[in-house]
Symmetry: D2
Subunit: 477 residues, 4 copies
């Protein structure tokens, strides 16, 4: 809502032994994953090999109604997707799942992540006569899988071969007439986990474990980086050809993207955020009268900060729960101001006090400046701003919208300058070492490229992928 | 969302010296009051005596779009209303503000509360030839004011006279061609406050102060019980004929209805809730490992409980922020369950622990039983349920939907029976004395009729008002 | 679609012996009456005395969907209404049926027509404490009936007494808990007829007989001017207290308003229009090569003209059947032109020919000027315009929107001047005598006030009713 | 609306020299072509090489609103499409124009017709790694053009080469970054014409000339069978490599599909239909008292029949103009009947008379049986049914939905049997010779395959294309 970083997608898949209401289960799961993408969503149902898909621009409750779910009908498999888009345009063409027909029948695919060599692959494919309907990586991936499928005995082997070609971040669910697959790139940039249906003997795959909890589905384990997991009539099996390399899950999943009730790579997101708060205090102990969090994602860390420091935890802000996408922004000339409408200070908490305010990140710095002003107006004596990650100074190539340096305040200013700009008495960021240790005990390594500029895979020289992608959507050669 | 008590309405009014975008200001204010009523809403704008109204079933962002706000246009006054309705039917006829034309021109009126003698007045009016379009008290009030207006030199004197006739709970904003009025019943059952526009010299009236904060409007004071406040070209003035009696604001405004960032009768709602938590512990100290609140309204009290007891405060639940009115409920046959979809436990917080769970009330007891089950599934060793008010055992006649004993679990069971039914290790309610002291320092007394059966005004012998009202809507003589 | 006169309403009622799907029957009937009003529509269903109503701005298919019809449910009675409004504003408040509750229970009412003393009655009522929600005559009528009902033993007697007070044009259907009534003013300005359900023993009332045909319902007879027809468990009966005076149905019902397949007062509308064409030729024989009609209402008369004259009938225009209310009008700057988009000439019919073009009326003269231009562009050698009624030079007080002289071209120009203005070689209007004889054989007399200024009842001195009404809607005292 | 044959599509394109509101012009043109397809529609705008597209399921006024047109914005080129679909499912995926990106940039394409070798081409392409998003021929055509484009110096040469591969019926508009093209298959199965913008020096292409009239655009000529017409900054030019063979426009375009005000291959559709009526009488003179047409497409022929026979022409039916796609069909149990709701007899026209009823075709025979019953109920003494084409006994492979013999009554019954089944006193079809001469003077030959089984191009052995296509959409290999 405020100027934050956005994740691009959430994916889900379900395989049941008996024909059942898989569309509804996917609907409920997408609700649980809605925080990962609010621009468009879709569900594709597989009923005895026939795939029916419904997708559009909008939130889950906007795209799906009772009758649309009924039309999707029953089946033994379904996949779902929700998507955030960096462009304001509301084009339904880029909604997923992507459903295509290739030489061996229909294929449905949902993707979370970002390829680093998508442009290169597109050009190769175009020179071989390919046509593209979308600007999604999903379409590139579908082509690569299709090309391999011509020569492979099975869809899973085609996928395994395709993984030698596609590079970057991808957590995929893929549905063929008979099989449901979950695929995670060898670095495991984005999360993906497996659940087991209590009675049916079926399985689900989801970006986050909170989707499993929503369905009352038992958590089995994470899909391993590089692993292909196949669910079909024979149960669950894996292809691990691409497993075993160094892994690097996006640390920002813990800091901000994931829901606090999810557990990723063995670590509770809520716990990781509390730990981030604790570390912030340990790295930079600050005297104060109250610790508050900026809702919603700063709250857990504020609690950790309070526990570590012994400073009382307080409720500093109330967020209006009804402000949504259709909210009409106040214009310049109006008395009202968007931040004030969305967020209100509880004066009693901060008045006359030295306040530590905890939040997950600073992107442009405009919103947090206005939040600080609200605190000052409410009578806060001092405002100390503690941020649960290091400054963003590099673009992300792996599926978020930190796509350019120009909007990042930390690229233009030093920390003292930022503190002055947003009018805080002190500003502390968590160190890179600190952020690396918030998910201590995780089964994998971390990508911290946006902080350090060191990326686990080679990235394009030119400009960030997602930025470039939108350009080509608009400009023909 | 869960089986809780509902408030019936929120009201707002704005008077500006210069013609301005009063429709937009009302729109933003209704957003801040949306928690008081989600069934329907409306805005009436007064432009040089011409009143234009737009109202319908739906949330603020569903009823109002950029073009509808533009159509309402500019003006010097506007009033707004949001309404909760106890019936499932979505009839736009009962939406407010009510705009009528009487002998002296148009009149717009928005009402929060419930009259105890509405039936009696309706019958009297009908015997004099009145016809009713709605089942709202607003229409009864309009008739009574109109009848007095025939003999009164001004609208405010007509209102003052009408107050001798209408009995019960009412916080009103009334707009005539030249004047905006705020009226609060002599007991002050529902809140209503006054704000001053920073530059314009104009005024606003609102059910809660959070609407003032949203607009950046300075809080002046509460409207006194029994007071009529008039804003017109001469500024602000009052009629206090009905002031001075014993007052009795609904204590449940502090417990649950109001937004925590509002200040009512001088007391912060957030503070009152924290105090409720503290008192709960003081009245019944419970040993435990963690204190958690049920979102959203149990969180403040849980924090108070934790502070008073020294038991660590934890985040026990994550509430899905995207589940709204259009959410398709899972059916009986489905694997999924509505509570689980809306609320997820953070296992790390409760696993292996003795948990104190704090919430604002128990109505039917069905939802809290399922929430307790979630905690047990997540491995809580003990669950102690602390409720921030006494048991509901009497109907409310003053504008909430506690309209009948049949659904109230506390009317059918003893506290130990309820504890058993919802499967908690202990169950404690705040005492009546306790709930009376949560808003200590408030400028007025309290109504605790739903707990004690002692009402500040005489109530009908027969069945509760709101229940009866719906009957008459359906059954002709 | 083009600048024509508009009827204000269509009404319908159904009474069945057995509980049945009366909402659907009303829905289909409103489709048949949709030409009488496209601004808003509504249906009120009576199920064992409980009246449920649904109404809104929009066409029948826009307001009613499968689920809205289902919600209205089954019943033994229903009434329906469709309405044309002269104002552009789309306020649902004036939609009908009007459903109110008075001293003896609920009452639903749908009205076609216009009272001449509505203002006077409103003022009287207001001075007695009445409040008005709408600017409809229906609300005035409801008050008058309610006032009489206080002293009358039955609703039908109250209606009979009310008819001494209300003056002007009204065709009403009224639904009380036990009875359905059809009421026509003593002059019978607007049509209203009775049908008998084939099997059930029930009855329907409708503005036009085409609604009966749509339902497969047998036509019984017209409601007589001044008659009250009551359908209840005892079958059908009448109150004829107000019958027997001189009648005066609006002749424009035959010329333009009614559907050609309706039969009104014993005369087929289609036949009346053909006769109008025949009379036009007889009064002013014109030599020509082809006779064409302007779709849709000029076609029948053109056929009559052709038959009478022996000049071949041709299809001169094709009207685009898809242009509806949501059509985006081309702006001034655009190449396109609204008339051209809606209407296209069949060049082969008119090229090089002397053309007689027949239409029902000229109001402002702007549209017909553009239609004539289309004919000239298509190569018509001569264009002779024959109009099936006399020039409009007076306002109508009885339910159409000829509300002021200022827009009527015939008030500003002589016939030769109009001919020159719209660029036709000749222009002939049907004579007043002629128009009076198009429905020869009808059971009643005619109102031709808009042509002659002689009205069957006394009309207000001041400005036309409908115009005035919109003023008061906007301007308070 | 009744059980008739459906055309599959209408196409439109516009090229302007100056940047202008091409989206609006296309919007108005699609209104004129709406009769050719009501299932979905779309517009793609080209602004300096950037193509923006909007398409969805629904009629033109449902898909396009003021804001959607504004979003499409200005440009120098646009293409539009409206589509009829034989399946009930409302999948937006098959809406056109198709916009893809290939090796040389973006390409937009709109198609009317049907390829006979689409399946074969799809399979070839799939074996080369192609993936398909839709079941449209447009996607096949795009691939073929793309494949040729890799080796061709220009898009128009790629199109010319592709025409050696694609076989069957196609009228295309194709938009590249710099060029707008109109392409018609060598047989010219579907119409396509060229217009010149009055002032701008630009051009338009449209399925029918009525779209040109709507825009006030001058008709230039038809695109020749086999011709590629290119509009770009150098004006208009042609590639005629595929011209000159025998042509065979679908004769049913004259009988039913096209709008009567269109002129196709030099012949007015209205005139052709009148001639069909004349020929019907000449082939089978029938004594009668009145000739009536079934609205809308039977009216012109009825007029021709009347003129030829000297029997008076009458208006037999009134069609309800408000019944649209969202009309709720009466269910079996209801009193009402869909045909009666849509069509009403003018009793005065037919009562006691021998009636000749003219319509364009008989498909299943169910609707016309009910229409005949309406006439009998209205008192027609005799009903003679004259049909303006021969019996359908063969599937169509070229873009209509006569896709299977099973639903065609003429495949199951002899003419006397059909006459008995639909209860007419006589039944006459126009002869094959007759139908071939209705468009006498046309610049091309005719396809009458649906009557004779003799097709101008080789057709697949197996089942009809369109039928098969829907199968594959649902069934994977």
């Amino acid at each position: 809502m405020f100027d934050t970083i956005h994740e691009e997608c959430g994916v889900f898949g379900i395989y049941t032994r008996e024909r059942s209401d898989v569309a509804s289960s996917t609907y409920f799961a997408l609700y649980a994953l809605q925080h990962r993408g609010q621009e468009s969503c879709g569900i594709a149902v597989n009923d005895r090999g026939v795939i029916t898909c419904r997708k559009d621009v909008g939130l889950v409750p906007e795209v799906f109604h009772k009758d649309t779910l009924t039309q999707l009908g029953q089946g033994t498999m379904a996949i779902g997707h929700c998507r955030y888009s960096t462009t304001g345009s509301s084009s339904p063409i880029n909604a997923q799942p992507l459903v295509v027909r290739h030489c061996k029948g229909p294929l449905a695919l949902a993707h979370n992540g970002n390829l680093v060599n998508a442009q290169e692959l597109r050009q190769q494919l175009e020179l071989n006569g390919a046509i593209f309907h979308t600007t999604n990586d999903s379409e590139v991936i579908s082509y690569i899988i299709t090309r391999e499928r011509l020569l492979s005995p099975s869809i899973e082997e085609a996928v395994a071969k395709a993984m030698y070609t596609i590079k970057g971040a991808y957590s995929l669910v893929i549905m063929s007439p008979q099989k449901l697959m979950a695929v995670r790139d060898p670095h495991g940039f984005r999360p993906l986990c497996i659940g087991r249906l209590p009675d049916d003997g079926g399985y689900v795959f989801a970006s986050e474990s909170c989707a499993l909890d929503t369905l009352g589905v038992e958590f089995v384990r994470d899909v391993e980086p590089g692993e292909i997991v196949i669910a079909d009539e024979n149960g669950l099996r894996s292809i691990r050809t691409h497993c075993g390399g160094p892994s690097s899950i996006c640390v920002f999943e813990y800091v901000y993207f994931a829901r606090p009730d999810s557990v990723i790579e063995g670590v509770s997101v809520h716990e990781a955020r509390q730990r981030a708060g604790r570390l912030l205090y340990r790295e930079n102990p600050q005297e104060a009268d109250v610790v508050i969090g900026v809702p919603d994602s700063g709250l857990d860390a504020a609690l950790g900060y309070a526990k570590e420091s012994g400073i009382p935890y307080g409720v500093g802000f109330i967020k209006n729960r009804y402000i949504g996408r259709t909210f009409i922004q106040p214009t310049q000339g109006q008395r009202e101001d968007a931040v004030r409408i969305k967020l209100n200070v509880i004066k009693e908490t901060v008045q006359g006090k030295r306040v530590v305010m905890v939040d997950d990140s600073i992107v442009r710095g405009t919103t947090c400046a206005r939040i600080v002003r609200l605190l000052r107006e409410a009578g806060a004596k001092e405002v100390h701003f503690a941020v649960t990650c290091p400054p963003f100074i590099n673009p992300c190539y792996f599926g978020t919208d930190i796509d350019s340096r120009e909007h990042l305040i930390a690229c233009r200013m030093s920390i003292p300058e930022i503190a002055k700009q947003i009018d805080v008495d002190s500003l502390t960021y968590l160190s890179v070492e600190g952020v690396r240790s918030i998910a201590k005990g995780a089964h994998c390594g971390f990508c911290t490229g946006c902080f350090t500029g060191e990326y686990p895979v080679e990235v394009p020289d030119e400009m960030p992928k997602s930025k470039f992608e939108h350009k080509i959507e608009k400009k023909p050669r």
